[in-house]
Each structure stands twice: as structure tokens, then as C-alpha cells.
């Protein structure tokens, strides 16, 4: 019997998700025994044709990482959807939009300006050249994929069966998912293949957490020397633990927490949370100034809340494209291209 075919593909991502596969270490040898890996992170035209020639559903499972930013990526996602029985969104970018999704605070024009224009101090570009989808060179014509205004998660482009969260996903979850899929023990469609509890629920700093957290002041991590034994929120430092799914470490404890740094939410929300930002605001509202609440004026409360210097950047660090905000309003809606959807 032929081995099942597994595909890995990447869209707008950093390569960390590929490294996360390499980090299976010796386990990768087991995977190679079980399946034929069709691994093509940078295969475009050639594999495109190759994949097109495949029968529909010929691939057992396609793991796709990265967000969608160019038409090339969108096309490839659609093709893989057609050829694969199961599509897994792999990693934060594919799952939620990820860090590249922060670009949705801006648009193509401003991004080009800061890379190639006057916004970039190291560029010598008096003619204001920016990359073009088609450009003439003395010898002929060169083409580039179009750069969209808006970054999207994978499920905003194609139907997705499962999600493996994380930036990057931990190898143990990847291995579990592969084993589950190959053995046919499939969870319900749309499932996120990670634990359901919040990071806070699993955090070993919980023991240090007072029964009622009461923050008098919100501090930035650069301003404090945090006690490795103490809950960040209790110290007034923003930690996304209450609204983030656990599972980044097999041991349960948060990986960033283990380095004495607060969680930034790369695993995305647990099942009951619809919008991370909304939930985090209510979580903070319940602990901010709790103790002396009755003595605080509205001004005091506002002052305290204003100490959260970049709420959107903290709360939607990994999920802006899939959040309620989705993107910044385009200054000129007429400029929105068809990909803004």
C-alpha cells in the first residue's frame, strides 16, 4: 500500500514553522517511515504544476503555515485545498494572522514608503522606485507577485479542517497531530489540536497569585525586575495568560513564563473566548484598582487604563486579522483592492 502523502507549505511566514518540523529531531525519521513527505516551502511554479496534475484529494494532509499576503499565496492555498483531504493551519500566522498580521494597522502604500521611500533612512531612491508586478529590464520582462493591502489568516481564504496553534508550534503537538490523523482518530472538524485550558490555569506561578489580584499601577516589562516566582499580573505587568490557550510546553507551564517573561498570546484564545481583546479588557477591568476602587475617581481609573500603552498591539499581537478589528480602516476605501474582502 502506498504511504499517505503529507504536504507542508508556507505562505507569509518566517520559516520558524519549518524549523519546528526540523525540531522533531529523531522523530522526523519515524515520520519519514510512515508517510511520503511532499515538502515544498519554496516550490512555486514547478510544484504548482505538479500539484495541479495530482488527483483531487490525493494528498492525505496538507500543513499550511504563514498568513496570506500575496495572490500567489492565495492561489496555492486554494490549490492545496482541492488536492488535500485534510488541511491543517499550522502556527499562529495561518491560524490567526500572526505577527505579519500587525501590518493590518497600515496599508501597502505606507509599508512601501517605509521600506523604499523617504520613510527609510538608509535608502537612496531619488526616483521613488517601488517594486512592480511587471517591470522591464534591458533583457526582457520580470514579474513579482502582487502585494495585498490586507493580511489574512488561512481560513479567511480557504476551508480549514484543523488548527495547530503556536509561534512556533511545539514539536510534541505536531507529532500528536500527525499520529492522530494517520490513525484516523480525527476530532471534530474545526478543532484546535491543543489543550483547552487557559495558560493561567496551568501556570506554576498560580501558587503565588493572590486570591484577588489588585493592580494599582500597570507597568511595562522594561520598567521592572520581575520576581520569577510571582504572577506577572499581580505585579502589574500585562500577561495574556488569562485569555490564552495552554499547551505551548508539554509540561503545561508557559514557555515564555519559564524564561521569566509574560505571555503574549501566540496560542490564541481558549474555546470560550470569542475575541481576545474584549476578554482581556474585561479581565483587566476586574483587577485594575480593585482594592481601592470605591475611592477612585473616574479620572483615576482612566489614568490607570491609559497606562496600557498599546492595547491593540498587546491584545492582538498574533491575531489582528482574525480579531473584531481585522484591520485599520483604509484612508481611501476606493483604494481597497479585491483582496480586502
Amino acid at each position: 500500500m502506498p504511504k499517505p502523502k503529507v504536504a507542508f507549505y508556507w505562505c507569509a511566514s518566517c520559516g520558524g514553522c519549518e524549523e519546528a518540523i526540523v525540531d522533531l529531531n529523531e522523530d522526523i525519521l519515524k515520520v519519514v517511515e510512515l508517510v511520503d513527505i511532499v515538502f515544498w516551502p519554496c516550490a512555486m511554479d514547478f510544484k504548482y504544476d505538479d500539484v495541479r496534475k495530482m488527483k483531487d484529494n490525493e494528498i492525505t494532509v496538507a500543513f499550511i503555515n504563514g498568513a496570506i499576503r500575496t495572490d500567489e499565496q492565495e492561489e496555492m492555498a486554494n490549490l492545496l485545498r482541492k488536492k488535500a483531504q485534510i488541511v491543517v493551519a499550522f502556527g499562529s500566522c495561518s491560524h490567526l494572522g500572526g505577527i505579519p498580521g500587525l501590518a493590518n494597522f497600515w496599508d501597502r502604500e505606507t509599508i512601501f514608503e517605509s521600506s523604499y521611500g523617504k520613510g527609510c533612512p538608509s535608502v537612496d531612491n531619488p526616483d521613488g522606485i517601488v517594486p512592480q508586478t511587471v517591470s522591464k529590464v534591458p533583457e526582457g520582462e520580470l514579474t513579482l507577485p502582487a502585494f495585498h493591502n490586507t493580511v489574512k489568516s488561512l481560513d479567511q481564504v480557504i476551508d480549514v479542517d484543523y488548527y495547530i496553534p503556536g509561534c512556533a508550534p511545539p514539536p510534541y503537538l505536531t507529532m500528536k497531530a500527525i499520529v492522530a490523523i494517520l490513525s484516523g482518530e480525527l476530532p471534530e472538524k474545526g478543532a484546535i489540536l491543543a489543550p483547552e485550558k487557559t495558560l493561567c490555569d496551568e501556570c506554576s506561578l498560580n501558587d503565588s497569585k493572590p486570591e484577588k489580584i489588585s493592580i494599582k499601577e500597570i507597568k511595562r516589562i522594561s520598567e521592572v525586575i520581575s520576581d520569577p516566582e510571582k504572577c506577572f499580573l499581580a505585579e502589574g505587568v500585562i500577561c495574556m495568560g488569562p485569555v490564552t490557550r495552554s499547551g505551548c510546553s508539554e509540561e503545561g507551564d508557559g514557555k515564555c513564563i519559564s524564561a521569566n517573561m509574560p505571555c503574549r498570546g501566540c496560542f490564541g484564545p481558549p474555546p470560550e473566548v470569542k475575541d481576545v481583546g474584549g476578554k482581556m479588557i474585561s479581565a483587566l477591568a476586574s483587577i485594575v484598582g480593585l482594592e481601592g476602587e470605591e475611592n477612585m475617581s473616574e479620572e483615576d481609573v482612566e489614568k490607570l487604563i491609559n497606562q496600557i500603552v498599546d492595547p491593540a498591539g498587546y491584545f492582538y499581537r498574533f491575531s489582528l486579522p482574525t480579531s473584531l478589528l481585522r484591520r485599520k480602516r483604509m484612508s481611501n476605501p476606493a483604494k481597497e483592492d479585491r483582496y480586502n474582502g
Partner: protein, 487 residues
């Protein structure tokens, strides 16, 4: 009839990569273009964020070398806040950084670049991969490579939280200290890394240097470019990957300039082309003369060989001996032989391993002074570091509250973007004659860009043991008249 050859994909260069080769009517190469079809826009979307968060955001530029971005960002934060890290924090940062350089270089040598030599440039393409390397050196060695990388990466995981996108860097220090039992455990890893480096250099010596065909290829003309070289050096002009001044030598090896990171804009400037999302940096005080080498062209190179060329030696004894041996063998310093990047990379593995031992033998690395809190008003700062793939700059500007108002990044591989294009064009010109293209082109083109270790090539190349490539020769109607493929 003029033709265009597309090699799409080649490999990753902060995104994907694509090579277009144009032939003239006689079927000889007119020109070749390296295109990078992707842009992420970090410079823009970092604006508005609290600056200390950039050390956690910018590593997502590259998941293969996130530690380089994290450390460079952390150094930029020191500069923005005008705060000096504590002694112990500096040691810990160097510890993490050296472990990272070693594992990243090993990934390249065994999984990506090495197969060209270890298995051989003439070996069937299907064998020129990690599995081929294991076939040649034995499965036990293969497992040792995986194990060595795993253990080095565990050092980063322990201190940085995550090996893919570590988080421990803060202005003025790091977030986590090192316990004594861990110091002892990591010292063992470091000592094994030194032994492993010896083994790697021995492999290179036995398989590559003792083979005259390979040696001729290294010192031959196809893979040679006379350019400027850039790298960080300490006060004795020895290679330093974490800190120091940026030194540039000219194609004759003479010091052209030595400057501090904060002055980078006086020396480096970037050229823009409409046909690629990647920019082309060059030396400002020489100027952009196009994709050409020589003393009058501002094109410079970075990464292992460039660092060794730009320095006067290595800080540790075993690495220094290898440094001398390399330049003796290659006929003096600087060496313009692109394939020697592979050799220089291994010498750097030896250097960082030796330095790991030094750092971990010093018990003071477990001291508790890991942070200095910033007291000054943040404004502007530049961080520099030698990433595996070359000199990396992070430049941040903030308001008085430390909120980001401007970011500029010159990423390691980008420094080499013009040189990589030139190397590919030269290999193509040497190989494609009168319209005849053969399988060899694939090997030679791969060998022309691999020494630079353009980012994610490693992952694509390694797992199934394949690096799929296709060369299409197209006529004016873009119809394929000949297709050569390698799956």
C-alpha cells in the same frame, strides 16, 4: 531567438527566491536576476508599539535565525534607553548567542551547504542532501549531528524560553539567570561542541581539501568575486560576533573603514530595483556601480568568510590555527573564493564552541546581577550583531515614553543580495554556452548561492532529502522549449 530561463524556486531569502536568466540570440547568458518576491513590512508595523516589545516582535522576521534578531533588537534597546547591561547579563547573552551560532552553522553545514562537498558536486542530485551525508559519514554520525544541535538548542530554550523566537532580552540585561547545576550541564555541552567542531573540520579536511577536484573548484574562477568585506571586530581586530566595531576591508585586504553601529548611515546605503522586494545595500562612500565587483564598486559581502577577511584573526587558539591554515591554503587574505564561506563557517563553529567553554568555566556567569533598570529617557538607538548570515542592523526611534516612531532594519542576507546575484550570473555565464543547458547548471547555480546560506534553504533541502529545482528555457512566447528538472 532570445530566451528566458526561470529557476523558481531557488531557495529562501527572507521569503522565497527566484532566478531569471536571459540568453541572447546565440544562447549565451546576457544577464541573470535574483528576485525576492515577498515583503513583510516590519519597519512600518513596529511603529506605535512599546519599544521593548520589538525584541519579541522582530524575531519573526526569520524563524531560522530568530536569536540573531532578538539579540540585535535587545542591543538596540540598550542603546535606545542608554543603559548598559550588567556583566553577568553580557555573559549570558554571549552564551545564548554562541550556542545559537553553533547550532545554526551546523544546520547549514550538514543539511544544506555541506552536501555539495561531503557527498560531492558530481554526485547524483538525489544524494546531495542530509541523507547522502549520513550515507557517507555513517548513520551514527548523522544521529550525533541531530543530537549536538538538539543539545545546543536546549541552552537557548532554557534561557530564552523558546528556541524559535526567544524572549529573554530586555534593555539593560536579560530576564533569567543561570543556576549552578545548569552551568555544569551546559559546560559539558560546550566541551562536546569543541570536540564536534574538530570532527567537522576533519571531515572537511579529509573529504574536501584532500580532493584536488574540489580544491580546484574552490579556488577556481567560477566562484570568485573581488569585493569589499564587512564584519564585527573587537579592539584587537579579532572576529567578534556579539559586539565591537564594524570593520570593512577593500578587495586588497586593506582596512577601508571602521565604524560604530550608531554611524551606520554614514557608510551603508541601499539601492532599490523595481523587479525585487529585496534592496541592495552598498558602501556609501564608494557608490553604486551596478552588479559588478572590484575596488570601484560599492558592493560588499558579509557572513563567515567576509568576517574572517575583515578581521586580523580569531580570539581562541584552535579557531586561530584553523584561520591561519585556511588563508595559507587559499593563497592569502582576503580570500575572494565564495565556496570558502563553507570552510569559514566551520572555523566559526570552532570559535563559538571554544568561547562557550570559556564562558561556562567562569562561575561568575551564575551571578544574580542580570538586569540594570533603565533610568534615562529613551530616544534613539542602533543595535548591531553578526548574524550567521552576516551583519545585522536594528535602528529604532521612540518618543519620550519609549513608543516606537521609526524603525530601520538591514538584515544579514540583504547585505549580500547584490553579491548573490553576481555569483549566480557568473556561474550561469560559465555554464550556459550556445543555448546548451544541462543538469550541471542546477548544481552550479545551487553551489553559487548556497555558500551565502540564504535563510530557509536548510529546511527545504533537508527533510525529504530533496531540493526541487526546475530550469525552464522559454522562447519569446514564454512557451517552454526545454525543461530540466530535479525533484
Amino acid at each position: 531567438m532570445a530566451k528566458k530561463i526561470s529557476i523558481d524556486p531557488i531557495t529562501r531569502l527572507e521569503g522565497h527566491g527566484k532566478i531569471e536568466i536571459f540568453l541572447d540570440d546565440d544562447g549565451n547568458v546576457k544577464n541573470a536576476y535574483l528576485q525576492v518576491p515577498e515583503l513583510k513590512g516590519f519597519e512600518q508595523f513596529c511603529v506605535g508599539r512599546p519599544v521593548e516589545e520589538l525584541a519579541r516582535i522582530t524575531p519573526r522576521i526569520c524563524g531560522v535565525c530568530p536569536t540573531a534578531h532578538h539579540m540585535c533588537s535587545t542591543k538596540a534597546l540598550d542603546a535606545v534607553y542608554h543603559v548598559k547591561p550588567t556583566e553577568t547579563a553580557l555573559k549570558l547573552r554571549r552564551l545564548i548567542y554562541n550556542a545559537f551560532m553553533a547550532e545554526d552553522h551546523l544546520l547549514h553545514f550538514f543539511f544544506l551547504g555541506g552536501p555539495d562537498f561531503v557527498v560531492g558536486p558530481d554526485a547524483p542530485p538525489g544524494e546531495r542532501n542530509i541523507l547522502g551525508v549520513i550515507g557517507k559519514v555513517g548513520i551514527e554520525i548523522g544521529k550525533q549531528v541531530i543530537d549536538m544541535r538538539r543539545r545546543l538548542r536546549s541552552v537557548i530554550t532554557h534561557l530564552g524560553g523558546k528556541v524559535i523566537h526567544p524572549v529573554c532580552g530586555l534593555p539593560g540585561g536579560v530576564s533569567k539567570g543561570l543556576a549552578e547545576d545548569q552551568r555544569q550541564a551546559f559546560l559539558k555541552v560546550a566541551k562536546d561542541a569543541v570536540e564536534f567542531s574538530k570532527f567537522c573540520l576533519q571531515v572537511f579536511n579529509d573529504i574536501v581539501l584532500k580532493n584536488n577536484t574540489y580544491l580546484d573548484l574552490i579556488v577556481g574562477d567560477i566562484f570568485k568575486h573581488q569585493t569589499y568585506y564587512m564584519g564585527l571586530v573587537d579592539e584587537n581586530n579579532k572576529v567578534d560576533l556579539y559586539d565591537g566595531k564594524i570593520r570593512v576591508v577593500d578587495p586588497n585586504g586593506k582596512e577601508f573603514v571602521k565604524f560604530e553601529a550608531k554611524d551606520y548611515l554614514d557608510h551603508i546605503i541601499e539601492h532599490v530595483e523595481p523587479w525585487s522586494y529585496i534592496k541592495f545595500p552598498y558602501l556609501k562612500n564608494i557608490g553604486w556601480k551596478g552588479f559588478v565587483d572590484g575596488i570601484d564598486s560599492g558592493v560588499y559581502r558579509v557572513a563567515p568568510l567576509a568576517r574572517l577577511n575583515a578581521s586580523d584573526g580569531m580570539k581562541t587558539p584552535l579557531a586561530q590555527a584553523e584561520y591561519e591554515k585556511m588563508f595559507d591554503t587559499l593563497g592569502g587574505k582576503p580570500s575572494h573564493h565564495t565556496l570558502a564561506f563553507h570552510w569559514a563557517r566551520l572555523i566559526e563553529v570552532m570559535y563559538v564552541s571554544e568561547e562557550l567553554v570559556q564562558l561556562l568555566e567562569d562561575k561568575s556567569i551564575t551571578n544574580p546581577d542580570i538586569r540594570n533598570l533603565p533610568t534615562e529617557t529613551p530616544d534613539e538607538g542602533v543595535g548591531v550583531i553578526e548574524a550567521p548570515r552576516g551583519t545585522l542592523f536594528h535602528h529604532y526611534k521612540t518618543d519620550e515614553n519609549g513608543m516606537v516612531t521609526g524603525v530601520n532594519l538591514i538584515v544579514a542576507t540583504v547585505n549580500n543580495s547584490a553579491a548573490i546575484s553576481m555569483s549566480i550570473a557568473k556561474a550561469a555565464k560559465n555554464l550556459i554556452k550556445n543555448g546548451k543547458v544541462n543538469d550541471g547548471l542546477l548544481n552550479m547555480v545551487e553551489m553559487a548561492f548556497r555558500p551565502y546560506d540564504p535563510c530557509l534553504a536548510c529546511a527545504t533541502h533537508s527533510l525529504p532529502g530533496k531540493m526541487p529545482l526546475i530550469v525552464n528555457i522559454r522562447d519569446n512566447n514564454k512557451d517552454i522549449v526545454q525543461s530540466i528538472r530535479r525533484d
